[in-house]
Symmetry: C2
Subunit: 399 residues, 2 copies
């Protein structure tokens, strides 16, 4: 009597969640400090001090009823103006409040955009490695997800395969840079090539092809890398943002969608976004946290810990003979497993209480995801475990 | 290129929202204190002191990373246990944490339940007067909403009409008691009759017919009225709850779904709920507010103001010759307009800067909704405006 499809979605526990639960069990057996859990993308750095300070200030100074009251469905004017101002300052854009629709995080941002534009039989293209929930969101909106295999040497885009896959029913392209799970950032060259193809194909097919930019890791980049701001490159871009990672607010569910003025029929599209938010049961984004992010839009959590972790672990893996594209952002490493089948590799890693996620769900079955949003101490302690694991494959450390 | 249906949903501004915007405009013209806005259901009483105190305590004492981190999709164990404990104490139920799925408010609760159970061509029955967004949520899940006309003498259920409407394709019944817009509470007698019919029909059709109880106003009742707890009456009941009204947290988006153990295939249904939450892009309910409601589950905002408002306004309307079923709960009055067409009546009310909502969208086109979640001062000041409006229809005050 229930929806079998929803039952399936609910009962297929995600692989990541299963590893996490295994880890919790194992921690009870051998002690928390002896399990090296690299499975989850839950920020390990606290929110900037300004966040909790903002909460206190709001509780102390703002109208006690309004703090927790409904805002308009698209978010308060105050919050949306603050979003526009922050991006305009940082990226030289020219947004205004009405380009923004505040959401309950990135998953909501994506689900709402997809619902706003999807018609039956529409195809949505993404590039491996990709965040596995895309399939769920696209299918829930009635579309079909098409995955372009990874360009494994640098995790940029395999354009030859992309050009073969795009066709008249392609409604949108979903990109995620900095990328979960690979940590790579699309170069300006990659984006220009992508945009050139999309513009040519739009003309050829006579309709818009949207770019959906899922960018919760936008601020998490290292070594001076910059993430090009997509709306400056391509008019038909939806920006799907979340404060989950940059402000370490993953649980608070706050983010936004940008519909830029340059988009074809932008006002109509914005209204479709409003309609989709309504149809999915999103009434408004959480009111207190709308006020918080309005005050903290230019803040970022302390990234130095992530950078230190990345450097330590990347160098170590390379010294052990792993092949790994060096990530420029996010908080994941995505090396090739030391055997063809990453699932078997991850099973073997468990012997050393190393919890890694096989790349299968991300569209790269011979890679593994290592989330380094953990304590630096965990990384240091895990090094010998990685060493023992590598030894099983005849790899020894070369300095 | 976008979904026309979503565009329609987004561009049909809700009638309530339109009146609200008109009110804002009018306030600029004649001064805030001279516009009697009874259009919105936004709580006017602040959250109990315990809510902001809980926020401060959590920020001061709990782990700074965990406060804002992802919880499991169904909500933290701590929060769900607190929900079970509170209901068991207050209603004599025997819930446990695993009956609960925490949500982003009542609209999310409903949307998730509907998505979990709906198959194409399924019908969902509700009773006028009903909350207009039900249509949107049901259709978004792929179902069809069937509305049973109101029993206008007491706003209980027109069972003769209901029995004619229920049939093999009926998947669920949606009820809302205390009711928005009428404020009425279903009596135990009404519920017993409803359950008797549902049980008979389940047997006849050989499948479950779910009862979806939308109860954000459960705690807002007056004069010692009690809201019977539905799962005690009928096993196949989903409880959809929100803290929006009872804790004045409408903007914070926090609520839950209960799947009771007694429900047929309860574990499977619970997993379908998890799947639907995932498919709709709900990752978890806001983490800080999960902690807040866990600490404040037994708190309720100060209802004495609503009661005072109800009594003042109800007595006044009756003295002016309005016909009105006396509400036992929520914060709405739903009298009959003084002419057949409530929309024309509400237009005329604007002459006196009285902003009322016609009952058309609620399925009662000759009634008007008056939200009395306003200041008592506004009620007192509005009395002469109601008097002048009534005089236009030849009604004068009789004491």
């Amino acid at each position: 009597m229930i929806s079998e499809k929803m039952y399936e979605l609910g009962s297929q526990r995600s692989v990541i969640r299963e590893i996490f639960e295994y880890g919790n069990q194992r921690k009870k057996e051998v002690g928390e400090e002896n399990v090296y859990d690299f499975s989850l993308g839950n920020p390990s750095v606290p929110a900037p001090k300004a966040v909790n300070q903002a909460i206190l200030d709001i509780l102390n100074t703002e109208d006690e009823v309004a703090i927790h009251s409904y805002t308009s469905a698209q978010g308060s004017e105050e919050c949306r103006s603050a979003m526009a101002k922050s991006l305009n300052q940082r990226f030289g854009t020219a947004f205004h409040a009405n380009n923004f629709y505040m959401t309950v995080g990135a998953a909501a941002s994506l689900s709402i955009c997809l619902k706003a534009i999807a018609s039956p039989e529409d195809e949505f293209i993404t590039f491996a490695p990709f965040f596995p929930e895309y399939r769920c969101f696209v299918e829930s909106a009635g579309g079909k997800l098409v995955v372009i295999p990874a360009k494994e040497d640098d995790f940029q885009i395999a354009f030859d395969l992309f050009e073969k896959a795009i066709h008249e029913k392609t409604k949108a392209i979903i990109i995620n840079s900095p990328n979960n799970p690979a940590g790579t950032v699309y170069t300006e060259e990659t984006l220009q090539k992508l945009v050139e193809i999309l513009e040519r194909k739009q003309k050829e097919y006579g309709h818009a092809i949207y770019l959906i930019s899922d960018e919760p890791y936008r601020e998490i980049v290292y070594d001076g890398y910059e993430v090009p701001f997509l709306t400056k490159y391509y008019a038909n871009t939806f920006v799907c943002y979340s404060f989950s990672k940059a402000l370490s607010l993953a649980g608070e569910r706050i983010g936004y969608i940008i519909v830029p003025d340059e988009m074809e029929e932008a006002k109509k599209v914005y209204l479709a976004v409003c309609g989709a938010g309504r149809a999915l049961g999103y009434v408004c984004a959480p009111s207190l946290f709308q006020k918080v992010v309005a005050r903290c839009a230019n803040e970022v959590s302390d990234l130095s810990i992530y950078k230190k972790n990345r450097d330590l672990l990347y160098e170590h893996l390379i010294s052990l003979g792993f092949e790994c594209v060096k990530p420029q952002g996010a908080f994941y490493l995505f090396p090739k497993a030391l055997e063809e089948n990453a699932e078997a590799f991850c099973e073997r890693a468990k012997k050393y209480d190393l919890l890694l996620v096989p790349g299968t769900g991300f569209g790269c079955p011979s890679h593994v995801r290592i989330s380094y949003c953990v304590t630096t101490k965990q990384i240091e302690k895990a090094m010998s475990a990685f060493e023992k694991l590598a030894e099983e494959y005849g790899h020894s450390r070369h300095m």
